[in-house]
Amino acid sequence: MLKAERVSFRYSPNRPWILQGFSLSITPGERVGLYGPSGCGKTTFGRVLAGYLQPIGGKVELDGKPLPPKGYCPVQMIFQHPELAINPRWTIGKALYEAYQPPPSLLEALSLDLHWFERFPHELSNGELQRIAVARVLDPRTRYLIADEMTTMLDANTQAQLWQVLLDVAAQRQLGMLVISHDRPLLERVCTRIVDWAMEAQTT
């Protein structure tokens, strides 16, 4: 179980608190939707949960232990802007194979074109890059996924394609997911449970 316990965070001591005593837990196979207006700290929470940021108060635990400080992190994040998440000076192939060799079946399911692998990120569209980003986090060592507005900038068809692949893999491997979005119908479609940020923040 991935668990955030009374997590508090702010970017510096003279800035306002973004998270204050926020708790949430995700069990394997569960897909939790996090719904709320932009600018309220959803992404910051995702970063804390994935270990990119250290909480100031409270703790994040994976199966009762803190996240591993070194090596592969079993909690992986998919970002809203793939063009900012992939090293612009690496070819697509290098970025994709950085951690592992994705099986051909996955490449096919995501309809990745082998021609892309020698190109650089700026030569692909955002939709194409987001497919690469999804393939990249589906390393077999990944156990929890945080999808932060993963398909906000994509058209409806590409959005459905990406989610279909991700939901298949998540079901097979019993991945736990946190889905951050302000698109209510999408959350209702893909999640097993939805947390409303505004209500949650008031009660804690």
Binding site: P37, S38, G39, S111, D113, S125, N126, G127, T152, M153, L154, D155, A156, N157, T158, Q159, A160, Q161, W163, Q164, H182, D183, P185, L186, E188, R189, V190
Partner: protein
């Protein structure tokens, strides 16, 4: 007001050394916009939506080669006429706040837009009036773009486009990455502009946004219009939609069936011979791959598919 007739855009570029390749991102595109109407242009990225706006304004790069005709108010738009029209009669609401000059006060930027659109004598008054209309407080005049919130910046961009006498507004992806309230506000502004008898083209990949304000929706695929349908056709199970791609797009929405269509849009470097959608189409036959279909009017819709029936 605006009529685009079988517009194609080719780009020539050098691949390696002197080897030239030709990209065709826009193919036989048709579109019509009347005064008082919001036409939403919907399609995935790379379907030629923004290029259409750039072609209408005449701001394509120099390696672009254009075929087809663009008519504005009954007259053919030549490059000279485009230069005279853009910013005055035809205005663009750009995609991002980064289109504002970061080192110039907001008031001065709107004022300059008013002057360029020919409002010399009254431009200061026009700028004040437009600020009031879009509920921008007077002190905002003296602010720099970085001081604006997302919603204010959006309103500033709208102000700049409509402070003059523009009759045709092209709004290029004005909504992504904004709060739902700001999205709503931006869409309402577009609707108001149309209600003042201007023509509005709303370019977006967000069908839900388009449904809220548009009168007609033009669906783009691989650089062509596959279907133009009244907004009422986008309801229920999509029985009112006639093109298989439009139906698939409607089905793929999370509030509908969320079933995607497999495969991807063809690359502009090697487009299929016949119908551009044929490689992914469940209805495709030998006829489809032989020849590009033309736009046909069926009931309220216009559709580019030989199998479509009313």
């Amino acid at each position: 007001m605006l009529e685009v007739r079988s517009l194609s855009i080719h780009f020539h570029r050098y691949a390696r050394g002197l080897r030239r390749t030709v990209l065709t991102p826009v193919v036989d595109l048709d579109l019509k916009v009347s005064a008082g109407e919001v036409v939403a242009v919907v399609g995935s990225s790379g379907s030629g939506k923004s290029l259409l706006a750039h072609a209408v304004l005449g701001i394509l790069p120099s390696n672009a080669h254009i075929e087809g005709e663009i008519w504005y108010k009954g007259q053919l738009l030549t490059p000279e006429r485009q230069a005279a029209m853009r910013g005055r009669r035809i205005a663009l609401i750009p995609q991002s706040v980064s289109f504002l000059d970061p080192l110039m006060r907001v008031g001065a930027q709107v004022l300059r837009a008013a002057q360029l659109s020919g409002k010399n004598r009254h431009s200061a008054a026009a700028q004040r009036a437009i600020f009031q209309r879009y509920q921008l407080p007077l002190e905002v005049e003296r602010w720099y773009p970085f001081q604006l919130s997302g919603g204010m910046a959006r309103r500033t961009l709208v102000s700049m486009a409509v402070v003059g006498e523009a009759e045709l507004i092209l709004a290029d992806e004005p909504t992504p990455g904004l709060h739902p309230e700001v999205v709503q506000e931006t869409l309402n502004h577009l609707r108001q502009l149309a209600d003042e008898q201007r023509g509005v083209v709303l370019i977006t990949h967000d069908i839900q946004a388009a449904l809220q304000v548009a009168d007609q929706i033009a669906v783009f695929y691989a650089g062509t219009t596959v279907e133009i349908a009244p907004v009422t056709a986008f309801s229920g199970k999509g029985e009112g939609l006639l093109h298989p791609y439009t139906q698939a797009l409607w089905r793929s929405l999370p509030q509908n069936e969320f079933i995607p269509l497999p495969g991807m849009q063809p690359s502009p470097q090697d487009l299929p011979q016949g119908c551009l959608f044929a490689p992914r189409c469940p209805l495709a036959t030998a006829e489809c791959t032989a020849e590009r279909p033309t736009m046909r009017a069926i009931a309220q819709n216009q559709v580019r598919c030989i199998h479509a029936q009313g």
